[in-house]
Symmetry: D2
Subunit: 382 residues, 4 copies
């Protein structure tokens, strides 16, 4: 639902049939405009998945590759009018670094799933390449694409809450309550495997969203943390639960928790911020509303699309108020901003999560891992 001045082309690594997040990225782009086209891909390490996925999404088999190295080499040679404008990386975490690095080195803009890499050192390497080569690099923290999150950020920025004192962010899921990784659930299998997933499951998979959301909306910088990672399921190596106390530069403090063993919770990601003038509350499972808590005890519920919202937010909202948009539209918003920056490189404000957020996210995860192993109460953020 955006107008673009020309056809936009993208490639994808990962996202074959059976992938959870790959189709969400593709759909987010499809719904944005029919002028956006998937032109090349390496969907999987398995040939039959590559072929089946290409067939399903209508990708010409000549540009469906069986490995990403071949894809990078071949696609880099394409002429400007055929070549992908950017590459989406939706592999398991393990491959984020090497795939992103190769495509950057071949001159492609990249949009990669979070967490960016497995270590902050890797993330900083990507950052350096992208900076040196003046390439765009998006990191898909999809939830900050919701219009009401943008409204929340604007309200905080404009001082509607006053000086921020407290921040609470939590991400509650149920799906790893049982050891489903032993029962053939593929999403669980790679995520619970350190060599595929990285050092922390709960932080990499969902806690990183918490850190990103807090930073995006509050504009605050985390100074020190006190974290505890746990695993509640027998035989699981990586943590499935994290609880973290936060201190921010400037005096605010707060709590972050992310758990995948909270039985019955679906995908319950919530944010609360309190300043000395007002508070706000938001819930990802009811994403079109934003609650403002006023000092006199009145709660104001703002709705996406309603007349009271800022013009700025309007650009990320497609349907009239009361006609629900979903999480795919949130992804679309990030892609719309990314593509706009590709088309208009001199654009000043550009609202998609970038490589800095990706690097910061990795440092946060590492700090939580460090704190969790430490007997010391507070750990400075690296």
């Amino acid at each position: 639902m955006k107008a673009f001045s020309r056809e936009i082309r993208y490639g994808m690594v990962g996202g074959g049939i059976g992938s959870f997040i790959g189709p969400i990225h593709r759909t987010a782009l499809q719904m944005l405009s029919p002028k956006i086209r998937l032109v090349s891909a390496n969907f999987s390490t398995r040939k039959e998945i590559c072929d089946q996925t290409a067939e399903e999404v209508g990708l010409d088999l000549s540009r469906s590759y069986y490995d990403y190295e071949t894809m990078a080499k071949a696609e880099a040679k394409r002429p400007a009018g055929e070549r992908a404008d950017f590459i989406i990386v939706v592999t398991p975490n393990r491959l984020h670094f090497s795939v992103s690095k190769l495509f950057l080195e071949n001159g492609f803009h990249v949009f990669c799933e979070k967490p960016l890499t497995r270590t902050s050192a890797e993330a900083e390497i990507l950052q350096k390449i992208a900076t040196d080569r003046k390439l765009l690099f998006g990191v898909m923290y999809g939830y900050t694409g919701y219009p009401m999150i943008k409204e929340a950020r604007r309200l905080v920025h404009e001082g509607a809450l006053g000086k921020i004192r407290k921040v609470f962010v939590e991400y509650a899921q149920s799906w790893l309550t049982d050891p489903i990784e032993l029962e053939g659930q593929k999403q669980a299998a790679w995520r619970t495997n350190p060599s595929e997933s990285g050092g922390s499951l709960s932080m990499g998979d969902i806690g990183s969203h918490c850190e990103n959301m807090v930073s995006y909306v509050s504009g605050l910088q985390i100074k020190e943390i006190s974290g505890e990672l746990s695993s509640f399921v027998d035989g699981r190596i990586l943590d499935d639960d994290a609880m973290v106390l936060l201190k921010f530069v400037g005096g605010a403090s707060g709590i972050l928790f992310a758990s995948q063993v909270l039985t019955g919770e679906l995908n319950h990601f919530r944010l609360r911020i309190y300043g000395d003038k007002a508070g706000l509350r938001w819930d990802q499972m009811d994403p079109e509303r934003l609650e403002i808590l006023e000092k006199d005890g009145t709660i104001k519920i703002l709705s996406r699309g309603a007349g009271s919202l800022s013009k700025w937010v309007g650009k990320t909202s497609y349907l009239p108020a009361g006609h629900p948009e979903g999480v795919i539209e949130a992804f679309s918003n990030h892609y719309a901003a990314f593509i706009s920056k590709i088309l208009h490189p001199n654009e000043k404000e550009s609202d998609f999560p970038g490589i800095e957020e990706g690097v910061r996210g990795m440092k946060f995860i590492e700090s939580v891992l460090k704190s969790s192993k430490s007997n010391q109460k507070w750990t400075e953020l690296s």
Copy 2:
């Protein structure tokens, strides 16, 4: 997010830049599969809108027409591999009949916005042509495409509520609270104009959704009604408010109301059904949940995507529970069923709203108009 065995092509009449519903139809199809393509259109009666819209959606100008008659004639001549599989009609109500009729007569399947026509006589003509020519005809009552509505229908059908006694359906909007049709709001201008809109504004625009929703979920047939149409805004000819008592075949009764002057209500469409064993409640502004009211006072909240739902519903649900889908996905579900029936004409069960629903809807609207003018309490449904 559906796999189709071949490319699907469609044409569109109406839906030019400035249209509310046209982009929703296109986006619903785009997000369904990149293999679905808009191949021809007459977007508007204004040439510049036709051109601009074609440019925005990437339609080849050679198949962007300035009137639908020319489009019908030219497109009918196209060979099978180029020709549109179906035509979407998203014009103001006035044109639904003539556009649909012409494309049916030229051998196209049609998917038309509701209300189907301006009179039931027109609707029955379309029904006859479609039947005679064995063409598919969908009518876009988009809200019955929500997965939780399908779950509700299944629960009622399987007897989970027992014998149905009471049905309450309501559609509350605010947007016509003021005479915005006099201030240049185009959506309001044609809708409040009888020659564009038909005999009833509130029933045509939103009340028809109520009737369709009740019929779809409850499976009940309306027998008698007692209705009252009113206009609350000075100078408005058509009604902006309807209240209707309902009696169903078999003894159930209920209330339907649809109003566009309920200040502050966004798009609040709600359904409640009570049987002698249990009740259910659903709210379009929170569409992913369905409340089951049990006899012992327990309320069970079912969520789209959660493990407790039926397999059958799963086919219309794309994302895991807790990852919000929106109303566009509901439209997509109708199109997925419609396209599936095009591809597999012998398919037995086919779950999209068809011409019968469209005809029934027109008869309902006419009955409410008749009842509203009558001094008699109950009016039999024609």
Copy 3:
């Protein structure tokens, strides 16, 4: 939680052990002040219930009577410092008239449960006696005692909603879904029996609350109605379900429904009012909040006890915001106003439901009964 200048004494007819509403009245008075004392009663037509109840509530047996005629005669002779200030009537409906009449004739103020009588003729007789003898007469429509209802009334009165256009009021219960009157449930037994209960069950028991609530908050006067009463349970003589269209003097319209066969609904009494400036919503099962729907789509949730509420409401609110008060406090508020008027007869504003409300309620019930039997669409309110 009110300060009174002297001890307050009351008597009670009805409300013996097994009564639902009697203990609520007593508790409402007890919690108001320890200076309020029950001094005489005829709790039941059964002697053993009289005795047991007197024992339970600590009433001196010398003033616990076995019939109300004896009680009236004996108590009327008591000296001023002993005599009850007022008499509460909480018998089945059948006796409301004769008990109230007798105590009025003996010079007592009376507070009677709703519905006031079985016919409006009886109600008008009580009205005449009370007026002639300058006696106070309260009718317990308990729900208008909630502070947020008082705030709603004030907001409407001060024009916050603009000119009222639409009113929706509904009362949904489940408890008569099955024929429990045949299974020894005493509350159901008398209520479903016309000679005990009056002409309409659903209207007398809960629909009368709807009429009273609408009138109290909106200040509007009902002009015409179109009603339908039904019974959904085999063998039940009286209606257990009512649906009523409303037209008000001045042009507003609306819908009232009251049903006791809505499986799974507990005691779901809701009010919605929409004017041309704003709307409001209130739900008895969440009585401490009031939603204001603003024209720009913002919903403001006001809370009892919060700083934003009017001073006037504060007098009916005891606890700080967020410390839930219940329905008994609503009853207490009515009694506080009634007692204040007894103590200060020249008080100008006096906010408890009186005999006019009781008479009006009976006329409304009779009009619904008349309309339900009529083939004519609209029936003028008698």
Copy 4:
């Protein structure tokens, strides 16, 4: 709304006009039964407040004392039929210890507000005296008196949630957002004053409820904590904000926070517990409902008074489902259990919060204070 076999008499220290909690205790007793009577009191350290309060509550001035020492001495001499059955202590925290101690020493049962004392050493002295003298000692953690909290405890105890893994408890208030203690707000003045209040404001005032609620419902024992106390308002000596990580014996963990500077939050006290079979959620501002989160994603909402609840809970529930009870009824429930134990000392199960809870609460507060000052991550509960 309880039947007692004889008149019950109580005395009160504190609770004069202007007190917040005193009237709540009195009202909770008044509403329980008219046979419960306040017979003696020292309402305040100020004579005029003593007199005015006695007048307001109808206490005979001969038993309204100007200091508690005189009261204790005089009342201890009263004969059995006149003497108070128990004494309620609702002074500022500073006096809890000395008042409770004196009345215990004079042979009275005591019910004291929380936090029990200012130090655990004081609490243990009271415990020893009560135990030695076989006197009952209640500590008013009022919120565990809610019926749905009792249902929650039963469900956990019976294994409905499986093995408990995670516990989240939070208490969010707004009222100390500004330095109102400097503006003459008396409730704030003594609470923010260490010599009146004790070592921690946020923990003493509201955090102690969190600890008690978690222990009561989960049955778990806290093993280690990691806490941080902060003050967000300039010039405030005591903390107004606490965040605490929890580890329980047996492997569960969780988070507790209590803050009085969360702008716009009224009295938002929430509990969430997750086991390996199911989860539960409860919110004090909607206290009549309890959410059970089932493994398949279904949420079951249980309501006070509904048929699905256990018989055991029924004893603490007065009104039918859907007729809201409030927080005063929760206090009443504790008093009902306490009085029942006075009347029937051999009663085995007795469900009111006692001296053990009070002592444990003081140890918890002291541990949080210790942890907050420590650089070590985990502090064992003393």
